[in-house]
């Protein structure tokens, strides 16, 4: 059935049935983190630091299977048992029965409808405004039965289900949320997840204990503590001393050293996020005669830098430079052989530069201090390589994004997330299309060509893989012809863990300490 896609719970169900082996002697896990988001509402708290906690307290409707495939290309029904596309714009979600919240209340369609409601996520002045990008196009969420929910979108979205693995898919207890209010819920959240929140102090720690009525079966740790330890060296010391089981964010230059410590294992994971920069292609009042309006200069800049060598030098094989929008997490859309149209070629760069009107003006590159690991170091290499071909770029380090967004700038740091769309729709069309920040925000950097819009609309319309894949490739080609930005690499997160701990989060910044991710996922 073409309109209907369905995944059956396979692995997870088998595991749940086979559980019960480690009910006793469960460890108390302590994860040392660099910080915690000040609220644990899984949408208001969307952030790397929040994502480490959320999935242990809450469950999403759908999950990606990263315990068997690090890139998680397979969708696994989770709180949703199944789903069907009733019409091009309407999806029905069928919920699992008998899933208890941490207060014993059984989850039903009303909870799901509330969690995805206009009131909470996508109406006027929603309670949790940070979720709008996941809820894009949703115009109706309705509980149509005790365990069925219908969602209607304003346009046909073949990959809608992928959104249910994102914070949009977290199911919150409507009764509790409405009773305590948004702020209090953020301080003492409740979900259906394997761990129940015991205490939360945003500048100290989150403590959660095993929820023994967890619908998914046994919970592998007796308790879970996320403790703030801002300094990596201190986190490392705690790990060595046996105080911590997992510590996050090993600085790239210390990975070797940490790996050499007995009893410590380092995990580096490339994740679904790609640091890059945008060329500012607009001529504005504060930037008249912008040389970057010339495509030759933009392409010359891409050809002038050896991203592959720089990435290898900095990351030592932990990650790679992608061809534009060619990401392994996109399954069938991923073509390991596709190469970027513009590769490192200094001679070509000089030719392109000669063809441009560029006269050596200084181009300023706004970079947010320390936001993307190793970004500044790579930028310095790149500035050198640009200088060699005669392009003059000056790095300007900014303390936060709102300062980086202040014009004038020629190059602006950014990153592109590939999560949840299941295909290149989000990074390619949502992030560069007519509704994107690139075009609409105060810090916009381009106005796409007519052709880009036409191709993009065709891509959006295409529902079948062959058609959609062809549209995608055409759109990428146009993007590369215009060259409105440049990818650096696939982002990397790293963990140092107690060598005895059997835990692997897959290629994700989300950390989950349930029985699938612990114990090798067998």
């Amino acid at each position: 059935m073409p309109q209907f896609r369905r995944f059956l719970l396979t692995t997870a169900a088998a595991l749940v049935a086979a559980g019960g082996a480690f009910a006793q002697d469960r460890p108390d896990l302590v994860i040392a983190v660099d910080n915690l988001w000040p609220t644990m509402d899984p949408v208001i708290g969307i952030s790397t630091s929040g994502a480490r906690v959320h999935s242990n307290i809450f469950d999403t409707l759908v999950r990606r299977n990263r315990w068997e495939d690090p890139d998680g290309t397979e969708l696994v029904p989770w709180l949703a048992e199944s789903w069907e596309r009733l019409s091009p714009n309407v999806w029905q979600i069928n919920l699992r029965e008998g899933v208890p919240f941490h207060d014993g209340h059984i989850m039903d369609a009303e909870d799901v409808a509330f969690s995805m409601s206009a009131e909470r996520l996508w109406g006027e002045e929603p309670l949790a405004p940070r979720g709008t990008r996941y809820a894009r196009g949703i115009i109706r969420v309705e509980a149509t039965g005790p365990l069925t929910v219908e969602v209607e979108t304003s346009y046909p979205d073949p990959n809608f289900i992928y959104r249910l693995v994102t914070p949009l898919g977290f199911v919150l207890p409507a009764h509790y949320y409405q009773e305590v209010g948004t702020d209090a819920f953020g301080q003492m959240p409740m979900g259906t997840g394997p761990y129940r929140m015991v205490s939360f102090d945003p500048s100290v720690s989150v403590v959660a204990e095993a929820f023994d009525d967890y619908w998914g079966g046994d919970v592998p740790a007796d308790s879970l503590t996320f403790q703030i330890v801002p300094e990596f060296s201190t986190r490392f010391a705690g790990l060595v001393a046996g105080e911590f089981d997992v510590v996050v964010s090993v600085p790239a230059d210390q990975i070797g050293q940490v790996e050499g410590t007995p009893g410590v294992t380092v995990m580096t994971k490339s994740i679904e996020n790609y640091p890059m920069f945008a060329f500012n292609m607009l001529e504005t009042e504060d930037l008249p005669d912008n040389p970057l309006t010339d495509v030759n200069l933009r392409q010359a800049m891409v050809a002038a830098v050896d991203r592959v060598s720089i990435t290898d030098a900095i990351w030592g094989g932990a990650t790679f430079v992608p061809a534009p929008f060619n990401f392994p997490e996109y399954g069938a859309y991923y073509d390991p052989d596709r190469q970027p149209r513009i590769t490192y070629d200094p001679d070509r760069a000089r030719e392109l530069l000669a063809a441009s009107d560029y006269a050596g003006e200084e181009l300023s590159w706004h970079i947010v201090r320390g936001f993307y690991p190793n970004y500044e170091i790579a930028a310095e290499f790149m500035v050198e390589q640009w200088r060699e071909v005669g392009i003059n770029v000056a790095i300007e380090i900014k303390d936060n994004f709102s300062l980086a967004y202040e014009r004038p700038f020629h190059l602006l740091n950014m990153s592109m997330s590939s999560e949840f769309s299941g295909d290149p729709y989000r990074p390619l069309w949502m992030d560069w299309g007519p509704e994107s920040s690139r075009v609409r925000a105060a810090h916009r950097t381009w106005e796409a060509s007519e052709r880009f819009y036409e191709l993009g609309e065709a891509f959006e319309q295409a529902q079948e893989f062959e058609e959609r894949n062809a549209a995608y490739l055409a759109l990428v080609e146009e993007w590369e012809n215009i060259t409105p930005g440049m990818y650096l690499w696939r982002n990397v997160v790293s963990y140092a863990v107690d060598a005895d701990l059997d835990w692997d989060p897959g290629n994700s910044a989300v950390t989950i300490f349930d029985s699938l991710y612990m114990g090798g996922g067998e």
């Binding site: 040392a32 910080n35 988001w37 000040p38 609220t39 969307i46 002045e125 929603p126 405004p129 940070r130 709008t132 990008r133 948004t182 702020d183 209090a184 953020g186 301080q187 102090d201 945003p202 500048s203 100290v204 403790q227 703030i228 330890v229 801002p230 300094e231 060296s233 201190t234 490392f236 010391a237 705690g238 060595v240 001393a241 046996g242 105080e243 410590t261 303390d399 936060n400 994004f401 709102s402 300062l403 967004y405 950014m414 990153s415 992030d431 920040s437 609409r440 925000a441 105060a442």
Partner: protein, 302 residues
Amino acid sequence: MTGYILSRVLRAIITLLITVSLVFIFIRFSGDPAAALAPPDAPQEVIDQYARAMGLDQPLWQQYTSYIGGLFRGEFGYSIHTGRPVEALFLDRLPYTLHLGLTALSIALVLGIALGAIAAINRGRLLDRAVMGFSVFAFAMPNFLFGLCLILIGALVFQVFLAGASANVLFPALTLGLAAMGSFARFARSSLLETINAPFMRAAEARGIPFARRLILHAAPNAAIPLVTLVGLSLGALIAGSVVTEQVFAWPGVGQLLVRSVATRDIATVQFLVLAVAFTMIMANLIVDLLYLVIDPRIRVK
């Protein structure tokens, strides 16, 4: 003397107002706080919603007057993230910082003065040089570096974790107090030396006053006078140092709250914390000034 105290109090209030105003301005001009709360690529409507929630959509002067007005009514505002009154957040963390800070100050004072006295009594000998060498080291050592060394040595050599809220306060306190200890030691030494060689000490000796009595009852109170100033001055360094030390030791005090609040642009919290720090400093200086009146009769009459 009442006039003296009144003028000091008035000056303190003006200093506080200036501090508060500067923080008010700086936090609004170091990037839009609403944009900082929203995700990097959030649509404008989301940023606007945050701006409204924080009252940033009002004209600046109106924000300012309502903030200052609130201060005078004792309303310091609410954390944008947790919705809790900021003074409650502060009071949660204060015991940790007081515990750390007072322990550090005690360590610095007791060890510093003891070392200074040992050096002064053994002036010019090897012990003096060793103590003074150590105090220069203590003063010059950046406290984050010293703290990290302590923590790493503890973990790698002794398998003990010296950081965290449940660890012994002694190690972060030693780290925090180290620099002050160094300067106290050097100051105590020179102050004590100067006093020991003062004519009245010779005179006391000539009157048949025993050595210990001369040292404790005559030299010490005089040598303490300049030290009181130094203690007052080093309080600022202690507070600044506590931010760093709390970070390094994952000590959940006011310093960490401040760092987190700045990072998350929790305006009301940042404003209150800076106000609290400024208030502490001003009070400390006031106390030092009043203490002077007590210990130095020469000032009392003026």
